[in-house]
Amino acid sequence: MLLILEIILALIIAAIVVVAVYIYTQETEKVVFYLDKRSKAELVSETPEKICFNIELPYNNLGQDEGVFLDIYLRPYLCQEQYDGALLRGKINLKGKFRDDDYFECMLVPVGQANSLVMRMELTPLKAANAREALLGMPEVDVAVFVDMRGRGPLYRQKLLVTITNEELQAMLK
C-alpha cells in the first residue's frame, strides 16, 4: 500500500515538473517597435487653421506566440511652458485601417507579421498667426506612444518615445 502511494506521489511530482518545464520553455510574444526606422513626418493636409501630418512606426512580432494590441494611444509632450504657439494632438492606428474617431480596435499580432502603426498628428495655432507659422516655430518634441498589450500572460504596457524634430517639420513643409 505504501509503495502504491509512493508511486502515485512520484507520478504527481513528475507531472508537476513536466508541466513547469513545459510552461517555462514555452515561447511568448515579443513585439518590437522600430523607432529608428520610423518614417519622417509626411504632410497630409494644410490650412491656415490646421496642419495634419503622419508618421509611420513599423513593428513586428519576433516571438513564437501570438500577441494582442488592446489599446494604443499617444500623448505629445509639448507643454505651453515650452511653446505656446501651437497645440499638438494626435491619434494612432494601424496602417491602412485609419479611423475617423479616436478609437483603437483591439487586434491580434500574429507571429512574424510585420506591419506599421500610423501616428496622425494635428497641429493648430494658439498664439502663432497661423498653423504654418506655429509649426515652423515648434521645438523638438517627444510624443509618448502607449501600447497596452497581452499575450498568454499578464496585461502590460510598452511606452515608446517618438521624437519629432524641428528640422523634419521644416523639411515636410518645403
Binding site: 478609437y103 483591439c106 498568454r152
Partner: protein, 213 residues
C-alpha cells in the same frame, strides 16, 4: 434550401437594451406569423451584460497554468480567458475536465475537455472576437438561450425564435430555440452566416415562412 432570410440592421446593442425590445424596434415590420427570428448569441449575451474586460479578472495560479496547455489561437489560451471559464463553470470542474481531456488525448480521444468543462468552454469569445466597443471584452455565452427564444417569440408574434452561434467557417450552433423550431434545420439554414461579421451590424435575421402550410 428554399428559405428566404431577411437581415435586420441595428445600432450597437448594449447591456442597457432588452433583446426583445430591440428586435421590435428594428425588425417589427419584417416579422410575420410563420417566421423564425434568429439572434446572434454574442448580442444576446451583451444585452444580458455577460461580458468583462481582461483587467476585471484576477487570474488564479490554476488559470495561469492551465491556459498554457491550449494552443495560442484558442479562446482559452491566456490567463484571463481561462479565468473567465473558471469563474463561470467552477475551477474544480475545469480542472477535472482538463485531466480527463488529457487522459482522453493520451488514448486518441479528443473533445473530452469541451464536453466536460461546461458549455461556456465552447462559447466564451476572447477579446477581438466581438465588434467595437466590445472588442476589448471577453464575452460569455448567453444565459438561458431557450428561454430568450421563447420570450422573443411571445414578444414578436412570430412562429418561433432561435439563438445561434454562427461564423464564416461554416459552423452554426443553435444554442436555444422556442417550441416547434428544429435546431438542426435552423443550423443548416444559417450555415452561410447571414448575420455577417460584426461591422455589418445585422445581429438579427428572420427566416421567412419557416412554417409551411
Amino acid at each position: 434550401m428554399g428559405y428566404t432570410i431577411v437581415t435586420v440592421p441595428t445600432r450597437i446593442l448594449t447591456h442597457k437594451d432588452n433583446i426583445c425590445d430591440a428586435i421590435l424596434e428594428f425588425g417589427k415590420d419584417k416579422i410575420g406569423p410563420k417566421d423564425v427570428v434568429c439572434v446572434a448569441e454574442s448580442v444576446v449575451a451583451i444585452t444580458q451584460g455577460r461580458y468583462k474586460r481582461s483587467e476585471d479578472f484576477h487570474p488564479t495560479f490554476l488559470a495561469k497554468v492551465l491556459c498554457h496547455m491550449f494552443p495560442s489561437w484558442g479562446s482559452l489560451s491566456n490567463w484571463y480567458a481561462m479565468q473567465s471559464l473558471m469563474d463561470a463553470e467552477g475551477s474544480g470542474k475545469v480542472l477535472l475536465a482538463f485531466i480527463c481531456g488529457f487522459l482522453g488525448k493520451c488514448v486518441g480521444k479528443s473533445g473530452i475537455f469541451y464536453k466536460m468543462a461546461g458549455e461556456q468552454a465552447r462559447l466564451i469569445d476572447d477579446i477581438t472576437g466581438t465588434m467595437p466597443p466590445f472588442d476589448k471584452c471577453l464575452v460569455y455565452g448567453p444565459a438561458n438561450p431557450a428561454k430568450v427564444a421563447e420570450e422573443i417569440t411571445k414578444a414578436t408574434g412570430s412562429f418561433g425564435a432561435a439563438v445561434a452561434d454562427v461564423n464564416d467557417l461554416k459552423r452554426a450552433a443553435v444554442l436555444g430555440v422556442s417550441a416547434g423550431v428544429d435546431p438542426d434545420l435552423i443550423s443548416q439554414i444559417l450555415i452561410d452566416n447571414p448575420f455577417g461579421n460584426g461591422s455589418e451590424r445585422t445581429p438579427i435575421c428572420i427566416i421567412k415562412d419557416y412554417k409551411k402550410d
